[in-house]
């Protein structure tokens, strides 16, 4: 059952990526050139909606948060720096 949920949610995940145009090289690279901010608009809207939704649901006591991604400052920063190089080169 859990896998069916994953498959359906994944399908909507893929659909939203495709419709936002994030499957294209130019969209991803142009956010780093500040000529097309679609990636940021997409990311920040998604974060805003799920932040509001999750914190409301937790406030109502309907859900418990899963493990929050661990914070280890150097690792997050160095990983992010390496990740950014790949992202700007390939455009994924």
């Amino acid at each position: 059952m859990n896998y069916v949920i994953a498959l359906v949610l994944g399908a909507f995940f893929g659909l939203s990526l495709n419709k936002a145009g994030l499957t294209r090289y130019s969209k991803i690279v142009n956010v780093f050139r500040f000529t097309d901010l679609a990636v940021l608009k997409f990311m920040m809207t998604a974060m805003l909606v799920s932040m509001a939704g999750l914190y409301t649901l937790r406030g109502l006591g309907w859900i418990k948060f899963p493990n929050v991604p661990a914070t280890y400052i150097m690792g997050n920063l160095i990983g992010g720096l390496i990740f950014g190089i790949g992202m700007a080169l390939v455009g994924y």
């Binding site: 859990n2 949610l9 995940f13 419709k19 974060m47 909606v49 899963p66 190089i85 080169l89």
Partner: protein
């Protein structure tokens, strides 16, 4: 209804609408199966599984034993769904096509039309990308978006670092045309 279908079939939606869809998916993922969306982790799960079968000694390390347990996890199924959903999206807008990624005019202007170049850069770029995601603990979706929606400090550190090096890399690649 007709207008809705017409809007749905457009090749590109407003990024705000697509973002709302992803945001709802993120809420449902936590609510229904208490998992976080993520892409890069799934590849590590699969690699761990293959590695454990082929070279159990080499893969008997902390990372694959505890941090990224191998196997067909929730995330792997999610990625399969992502491929299906992306395909459906492309079919709905009739932009479904086998691409060797040489028809992006911007790529051609910078790197030239050779297919091998695209594949070579994609291959090594993806290695860099996945390696960085492994160190940081997630990728754009798994750490930045999913972590950000739980207000995890890691997510915001990661976004800052990602943009810093992304901008510098884009500057180096584009030089005068930046």
């Amino acid at each position: 209804m007709k207008v809705f279908i017409q809007q749905f079939n457009k090749e590109l939606w407003s990024p705000y609408i697509a973002g709302v869809v992803l945001g709802l998916v993120g809420v449902l993922a936590v609510w229904l199966s208490s998992s976080l969306l993520g892409a890069s982790g799934a590849f590590e799960n699969v690699v761990g599984m293959i590695g454990k079968a082929l070279a159990p000694q080499a893969f008997n390390i902390m990372y694959f034993n505890f941090i990224m347990p191998p196997g067909i996890t929730w995330g792997v199924v999610l990625i399969i769904g992502t491929i299906i959903g992306g395909g459906l999206g492309a079919l709905s807008s009739k932009s479904w096509k086998l691409r060797l990624n040489t028809d992006d005019p911007q790529w051609i202007a910078i790197f030239g039309p050779q297919i091998w170049k695209r594949w070579l850069i994609a291959f090594f770029g993806a290695i860099i990308l996945e390696y960085g995601a492994g160190i940081a603990g997630g990728c754009t979706s798994g750490l930045a978006i999913s972590g950000g929606m739980l207000l995890a400090p890691a997510a915001f550190l990661f976004i800052a670092a990602m943009f810093a090096s992304g901008i510098i890399t884009a500057m180096l690649v584009y030089r005068r045309r930046y």
